[in-house]
């Protein structure tokens, strides 16, 4: 019984302060908009935004699910390819020298330049958005994965080599577990980025997803809808981040320096 109480107190200490801070922020926003008589089509008050949001919950949740799905699928795709690439590149300096510059080029190319091309190649459905999300996820996971796979305890490496361990055994017993903290650091960056990638992809074509809602509502100067979509996106971002932090705590229980928030 006491364990649950302690758990509850701990959870409260994490959730109550930010909620209060957010509430305070929204209150200031509301008061300022009313006092300064800001028109609804420039900057709506939170009360109006929330009204719109709750009136049409189904609409926003449905589009939110689309964006979330695209982001997660893109993340999984990008992270898998990146991890595979990192594995090969960690074992071969030649491969690293050949492929890393290409990875950098992908990273610095702005999505807004690539997205229209994807639309032409892959159509108006979810696939180009998933692809963009995966591209954005790719680089952090690749670089951190490589670092993690290489940055192993030399003592253990020597030990395993003195036992004639195969590259495969070294990879699974030493390199892969060692890379976990690095990977989680990359995931914390990549997951929100993949959401952004999906949204940007949705700007360019299609009728599904919060990015699509944002673009169309902006064209109609329908600010309450636009801000509602943004709020939902923020909610998705926060939820995903919390999940990653929680998973990290569980998986990296053994790690001394994992930052727990």
């Amino acid at each position: 019984m006491q364990k649950y109480f302690v758990g509850f107190m701990k959870l409260s200490s994490y959730t109550i302060p930010p909620t209060l801070a957010l509430f305070l922020l929204l209150s200031i926003w509301e008061i300022w908009v009313r006092a300064a008589n800001v028109p609804i089509y420039i900057f709506p008050a939170p009360s109006i935004i929330f009204t719109r949001l709750f009136q049409d919950m189904g609409f926003f949740l449905s589009h939110g699910m689309t964006t979330l799905t695209e982001a997660l699928l893109g993340f999984i795709l990008g992270a898998t390819i990146a991890m595979t690439g990192a594995t090969f590149m960690a074992h071969s300096r030649l491969l690293e020298r050949s492929l890393l510059p290409i990875a950098v080029m992908i990273k610095v190319t702005p999505i807004v330049a690539i997205a229209p091309i994807f639309v032409i190649w892959f159509g108006f459905g979810s696939f180009p958005k998933i692809l963009i999300a995966s591209l954005i996820t790719f680089f952090p996971v690749l670089v951190n994965g490589m670092s993690g796979l290489r940055n192993v305890d030399p003592v253990v490496l020597d030990l395993l080599n003195s036992l004639n361990a195969s590259r495969r055994e070294i990879y699974f017993k030493l390199r892969l577990p060692s890379s976990m903290p690095y990977l989680f650091a990359a995931f914390k960056i990549s997951i929100p980025l993949s959401v952004i990638g999906a949204v940007v992809g949705e700007w360019f074509s299609g009728d599904r997803g919060l990015g699509s809602v944002i673009i169309v509502s902006h064209a109609n100067l329908d600010m309450p809808t636009l801000f509602s979509a943004i709020f939902v996106l923020a909610g998705i971002g926060v939820a995903l981040t919390i999940i990653v932090f929680y998973l990290e705590k569980k998986v990296l229980r053994w790690h001394d320096s994992s930052v727990i928030t």
């Binding site: 030399p154 020597d158 030990l159």
Partner: protein, 264 residues
């Protein structure tokens, strides 16, 4: 069954991209089966390099090293080498028991038939190092001394024939270090392994070894070998005997440094 270790005119040159550094130059070492040999010398004389060459982690530029009748590579495949470093090097995501069994998880090389030694059980090893009941602890919950003991148990897990120790006690505080020395003596005397231990500490060398090989500074080469004829088992109090002190002095002289026991 322990094996002999023989290094003959061993030479190792680091190829540092244009800059060659001779770490070892004509090193000879002779370890009989079951013998405990210490290698002492000033910093940078290549002691660690020597150990790595014996372990087969480096390939000699010249000369040869054998474990038993074959090269280190063969001993690797037979999992005959137990290794321990100054840092315990435990895997933080594994429990004590899982860390100890790591060597036994490595598949033996099948070209040598089913010659895998009967591995020591984790339970027996924990008892040996005095950490019964700590099997499910994680490394971050252990003290430095405890971690080194686990590293020792790990080194013994695959029932090796030789034990290679690179300054295994250097990172410990004085008190732990002293007690660990006697632990190590006890274990090595009990398991009758061939041991090569690199150390800075002359007292430690005299206490634990049957022979002490002296390596000069860079490039390292063996200048002398002193046989330590002290009775076994080595027990508390032996460090105060005259014979012990004489041996220590002798080593000091051979190293031509007349100061503290510990060479920095």
């Amino acid at each position: 069954m322990s094996q002999s270790i023989k290094a003959t005119q061993l030479q190792y040159v680091y190829d540092g991209g244009g800059r060659n550094l001779t770490a070892l130059d004509r090193v000879d070492l002779d370890v009989k089966p079951g013998e405990f040999v210490s290698v002492v010398g000033p910093s940078g004389c290549g002691k660690s390099t020597l150990l790595k060459l014996i372990a087969g982690l480096l390939v000699p530029t010249n000369g040869s090293v054998t474990i038993g009748s074959g090269p280190p590579a063969k001993a690797q495949k037979l999992k005959n080498i137990g290794l321990m470093f100054q840092e315990p090097g435990l895997l933080p995501w594994r429990t004590v028991a899982q860390n100890i069994t790591l060597p036994t998880e490595i598949a033996p090389n099948s070209s040598y038939g089913n010659q895998s030694n009967s591995d020591n059980t984790p339970k027996a090893l924990l008892r040996l190092i005095g950490l019964e009941g700590f099997a499910t602890y994680y490394p971050k919950e252990l003290s430095g001394g405890m971690k080194q003991r686990v590293a020792l148990a790990r080194a013994l897990a695959a029932s090796p024939e030789v034990l290679l120790l690179d300054e295994p006690l250097a990172a410990l505080d004085d008190i732990t270090r002293t007690s660990m020395r006697y632990e190590l003596i006890r274990i090595c005397e009990y398991s009758n392994l061939s041991v090569v231990m690199v150390t800075h500490n002359l007292r430690e060398a005299v206490l634990m070894s049957d022979k002490v090989a002296i390596l000069t500074s860079r490039p390292g080469s063996t200048t002398a070998t002193v046989t330590i004829n002290l009775p076994r088992p080595r027990i508390q109090g032996i460090e105060d005997t005259l014979a012990f002190i004489e041996y220590e002095q002798k080593l000091k002289n051979l190293l031509s440094i007349g100061t503290e026991t510990d060479i920095k």
